[in-house]
């Protein structure tokens, strides 16, 4: 009953700041799509240290364990996004936010949340220049960002061949027919991006069996997934080009017990990404 009430509220258009106006009142709807371009943030060692110190010791350790600085940077910005989003959407004071990770490494909010956000979930991703986060109040959400990188030690085709166990025959055929080797590479990365977004939404690991998923699309719009040969009505996907080298995909799916008829969330148009700066996120968290 409550679920249906909630879904009716969400039918009203969502503006890009993630609130809806219902009867003149602004209400938080829990949906966010944020991106940070980390190539635009170049902190000194001291600045970096001061930002890390905003977090609890366990998070600091997790960030500093990365060997390469770029990975430390991504890990830090990922956490800034997580804490900032949870604080903004759910109003929990930053120092009270508890984020744990599943065995597969997926971060999730440990704090117990009441209706209407009891199924609130988020997902982060980073690759290349971008770190992103996506959140949903009810649907499961997965985000994946890919940075199309020309392989250094092999040809594009050799590189893609490594991943043939994860692609279906149709996908492989589409990649092979994409054109030049650069176009084939980009085509592969788009399929990979979608598969990863799905697997991350459901919280599975690499052993999910990515070849069970087959993505159908019309010029990369109207994307749908066939799981074990059957089209799934419970999942929606979107693919966005961030810039010449980066693409991001969002997977949104109904939680297991939800019936597609009672929950209109899935048919809502996909929200675009909002670009945030590290400075904004820091002041949010502080």
């Amino acid at each position: 009953m409550m679920g249906i009430l909630f879904s009716r509220i969400l039918i009203t258009p969502i503006d890009f700041v993630g609130v809806v106006t219902v009867g003149g009142l602004e209400m938080e709807n829990g949906v966010r799509r944020w991106l940070v371009n980390i190539s635009q943030w170049n902190p000194s060692e001291a600045q970096f240290a001061s930002v890390i110190s905003l977090f609890r010791v366990d998070e600091q350790t997790a960030i500093t364990r990365y060997i390469k600085f770029e990975d430390k940077k991504r890990a830090l910005v990922s956490r800034l996004l997580q804490y900032s989003l949870v604080h903004e959407v759910l109003g929990i004071p930053s120092d009270k936010i508890i984020i744990h990770r599943t065995a597969e490494g997926k971060p999730y909010l440990k704090n117990s949340i009441d209706f209407p956000f009891s199924n609130f979930n988020f997902n982060v991703s980073h690759h290349g220049d971008y770190v992103g986060i996506a959140s949903e109040p009810l649907c499961l959400v997965g985000l994946d960002i890919v940075s199309i990188t020309t392989p250094k030690q092999e040809t594009e085709l050799e590189f893609i061949n490594n991943f043939s166990p994860y692609l279906t025959a149709l996908e492989w055929k589409n990649i092979a027919h994409a054109g030049s080797s650069e176009e084939m590479l980009a085509e592969f990365y788009r399929y990979w991006c979608l598969k990863e977004a799905f697997v991350k939404a459901i919280g599975a690991g690499l052993d999910y069996g990515l070849c069970r998923l087959e993505f159908h699309h019309t010029n990369w719009t109207g994307v749908s997934v066939y799981i074990d040969g059957v089209e799934s009505k419970k999942w929606r996907f979107s693919l966005s080009k961030l810039d010449e080298k980066h693409w991001a995909s969002i997977a949104r799916g109904l939680p297991n017990k939800a019936n597609e008829l009672c929950c209109s969330d899935l048919s809502l148009p996909e929200l675009g990404f909002t670009f945030r700066t590290v400075e904004e996120l820091i002041s949010n968290v502080n």
């Binding site: 085709l157 492989w172 055929k173 069996g209």
Partner: protein
């Protein structure tokens, strides 16, 4: 350009019905990376002689070789300490890197790694141990 066009044509002309259906493989609990890869145009060939060379290889040799492959794949900066205890995630490996590393290890050691086993590799030592196990099972 000509060679690339040639490769593209060879992929397109391979009739799908002659290849094992993807569904068959996906229903198996554990899938060997290389058994499926053979169904697609094989660009990488594993020389049979490498099997004889690595029979009874010392454990430290295996670790050295694994470290070399991992450092190369992950472009670890020179002078960075990478040890057996180093975790792949801390070295910056993402899912794409993990697949490539496992493929690289399969080729270098002439073995097949099951998807399930690949999932369990957390540190460089885990990879070396798994390889040692697979190599010994195969050759000794």
């Amino acid at each position: 350009m000509a060679s690339l066009a040639g490769t593209t044509i060879s992929i397109a002309s391979r009739p799908w019905h002659s290849l094992p259906a993807a569904k068959e493989f996906s229903s198996l609990k554990s899938i060997s990376f290389s058994s499926i890869r053979k169904s697609f145009p094989a660009i990488r060939l594993r020389p049979a002689s490498s099997r004889l060379q690595i029979c009874c290889a010392a454990k430290s040799d295996t670790l050295e070789k694994v470290l070399k492959i991992v450092k190369k794949q992950l472009a670890v900066p020179e002078g960075t300490a990478v040890t057996a205890e180093s975790k792949f995630s801390e070295l910056g490996a993402d899912s794409l890197d993990t697949v490539e590393i496992v493929m690289g290890l399969e080729e270098a050691f002439g073995i097949s790694v099951e998807e399930e086993s690949a999932q369990k590799i957390i540190t460089v030592q885990d990879a070396a141990d798994l390889i040692q196990e697979l190599v010994e099972a195969k050759t000794c």
